[in-house]
């Protein structure tokens, strides 16, 4: 939950900072830039969650938050590079491929976590780690 709310707050923060800065004098902060910055924040939040949490389920979730950041970044790049015929399709295709790869890796990680749980009764790698 903490992670999710952090992710949400970062989105709000990104949008708010954009609204504050997108005045006519500073046209630098365009919409794709807001998405890119949000994506970077998501990536870092996921990283923080991955390092500080010990529960395997949370680890997999943190990795997916990081992945979400990367994919958001790619989609923002596609939007920045939009030509007359629409957004750049290459980052879109990379995102799709990345999502499927992340799905496969997450499915395997969850299966492995459940298998470990069924053998050791622990949902974490270091037994006795109180930190969830």
């Amino acid at each position: 939950m903490t992670l999710l709310s952090c992710g949400y707050m970062s989105v709000c923060f990104g949008v708010a900072s954009a609204a504050g800065a997108a005045t006519p004098e500073t046209p630098v902060l365009t919409s794709h830039l807001v998405y890119m910055l949000t994506a970077c924040l998501l990536f870092c939040i996921g990283l923080f969650g991955l390092i500080t949490r010990g529960h395997l389920m949370r680890n997999v979730m943190s990795l997916n938050v990081m992945g979400g950041g990367v994919f958001l970044f790619l989609v923002a790049v596609a939007r920045r590079d939009a030509g007359e015929s629409g957004p750049d399709p290459v980052p879109h295709a990379m995102t799709l491929t990345g999502i499927v790869v992340a799905l496969a890796a997450s499915a395997f990680a969850l299966a492995l976590a459940r298998r470990i749980h069924s053998i050791t009764g622990e949902m974490r790698l270091e037994p006795g780690d109180d930190n969830s």
Partner: protein, 499 residues
């Protein structure tokens, strides 16, 4: 029409598909042998093609880069592919026995799944060495990760599963970090092809950020100190052939990608500092890994910690090929030695480490445990395996004449030429510590047993696989001309050109 580059990837993939579809006992051996043979034939054809007519490049799907994906083979790619081919097929020979009815170490399910997993892994290792596209490399890295982790879990033991989970999380993190770097590079250059990106003007901060992310991710996958925490359990808890594959081959793939980025993409005032940092971490790995290996009481853990140390030597290439902020090269005139030395170290380590893990597999099979204290009397019971472990150790220590010696000699020459004498000191201390843990390991083999114990008989072919790898790791030290010539084909380390 025959295109060796494509077949180096296609042959293992066809083998993997067949092995997955026909898991029966009857088919296993013909499919495995056929896939190994076809892959080796493709590797041989690719080698002679590149040797005779220079570097190759082909466009996949008929679309030249930037729209399509390019495959490219230069001397360095071929060097790595040959290494994978030789080591991989000898490990395969051992695995043919290990995953058959002759071995009581494995369950039927493991035997069914080993070959598809290993052949897909082999194909994607070749795919990495041939790929010229940074996003394609990401996908291939993920294939390697999943296949490697699945191979660790094959044995189904709880400690192997926990080690596999830790490895999977670390490697997943590494992949995402690399992918974020790919996204940043695409946002900077609008292309994914390594050659196109290398030809464009250097772009400052976005590129530095991309390199930082990609280098961290790849170093995590290569288990560079202090990001090596996942390696010793993952490599030591797997079955012997899997340990050999992971330690000898898999960690080299991510290092290869890092090297490609270092030479192709990254340049600028920060280069020297980054190079020194990577070299320092490598040195720390050499000392720390060897020190930890000295303290291990089980053979496979000792060998796995030794891998952490040996990976450190690979990272000495970065300070030796970096450019000072003033623009001149740190080791101008010695770059060839540095690059050849490190490539050679990758090769001799792959051979020696595969030999040691296969030897450890024999010990585990015969003694039922790999505790060093249990290995008493091994020199008399398993002379071939003891000999294999000993000469693989010679190569790891870097005693002449061996592949390890040639590699370390070249690195030392380059370091002295560059005036960076401190790396020489690290290599010397590392060599002494390596000698320490090798002797510690072999000491038990030469102590005669207290009381005769009942042991399982050892099987000759598997001992010979370990011996062949160990002998090769020494023999490669005798011929340096061909690798020297191979490694400059197609100019894989483009810094060579610069003044």
């Amino acid at each position: 029409m025959i295109e060796p580059m494509a077949w180096c990837i296609l042959a293992p993939f066809i083998g993997a598909s067949l092995a997955f579809l026909l898991p029966g006992r009857v088919w296993r051996r013909p499919i495995a042998i056929g896939a190994i043979g076809a892959t080796l034939a493709s590797v041989w054809m690719l080698t002679s093609q590149v040797w005779n007519s220079g570097a190759q490049r082909m466009d996949l799907s008929g679309w030249p880069a930037p729209l399509g994906i390019g495959l490219a083979a230069d001397g360095f790619s071929v060097f790595m592919i040959v290494m994978t081919g030789v080591v991989g097929s000898l490990i395969g020979a051992y695995a043919l026995w290990h995953y058959s009815d002759l071995s009581d170490a494995t369950e039927p399910a493991e035997r069914r799944l080993f070959w598809p997993l290993w052949l897909i892994l082999w194909g994607s290792l070749n795919a990495i060495y041939l790929s010229s596209d940074i996003f394609n490399i990401y996908v291939a890295l993920e294939v390697i990760t999943l296949a490697a982790v699945a191979l660790i879990t094959l044995s189904g033991k709880a400690e192997a599963l926990v080690a596999a989970m830790r490895y999977l999380l670390a490697a997943f993190l590494g992949s995402l970090s690399y992918l974020m770097g790919v996204a940043l590079l695409y946002a900077t250059h609008g292309a994914l092809d390594l050659v196109i990106i290398a030809d464009q003007e250097r772009a400052g901060l976005p590129e530095v950020g991309a390199f930082a992310l990609m280098a961290t991710g790849l170093a995590l996958k290569t288990a560079l100190f202090p990001m090596h925490f996942w390696l010793p359990p993952a490599h030591s808890k797997a079955a012997a052939p899997v340990s050999a594959i992971l330690s000898a081959l898999v960690v080299k793939a991510s290092f290869y990608v890092l090297l490609r980025l270092w030479f192709g993409v990254f340049d600028g005032p920060a280069m020297y500092a980054v190079g020194i940092l990577l070299g320092t971490l490598g040195s720390a790995a050499i000392i720390w890994g060897a020190f930890q290996a000295l303290r291990q009481m089980s053979l496979k853990l000792l060998i796995a910690h030794s891998t952490v140390a040996q990976i450190g030597y690979l990272f000495l290439i970065f300070p030796l090929t970096a450019r000072r902020p003033s623009g001149e090269l740190a080791a101008a005139g010695w770059i060839t030695e540095a690059c050849t030395g490190v490539s050679y170290h990758a090769l001799s380590h792959a051979l020696a480490k595969a030999a040691m893990f296969l030897g450890a597999g024999v010990v585990l099979h015969v003694y039922g445990s790999d505790l060093l204290t249990n290995m008493r009397g091994m020199s008399r019971r398993l002379p071939i395996t003891t000999f294999a472990l000993a000469i693989a150790g010679v190569s790891l220590m870097g005693l002449p004449p061996s592949g390890g010696f040639a590699a370390k000699w070249l690195i030392v020459t380059a370091a002295l030429g560059a005036g960076q004498w401190w790396w020489v000191l690290v290599i010397l201390i590392g060599g002494l510590l390596t000698a320490g843990y090798i002797f510690l390991m072999l000491r038990w083999a030469f102590i005669s047993e207290d009381a005769p114990i009942q042991l399982r008989p050892a099987n000759m072919p598997i001992q010979l696989a370990a011996l062949a790898l160990a002998l090769l790791s020494v023999l490669v030290g005798f011929r340096l001309e061909e690798p020297f010539q191979l490694l400059v084909i197609g100019d894989p380390f483009p810094i060579f050109d610069l003044p």
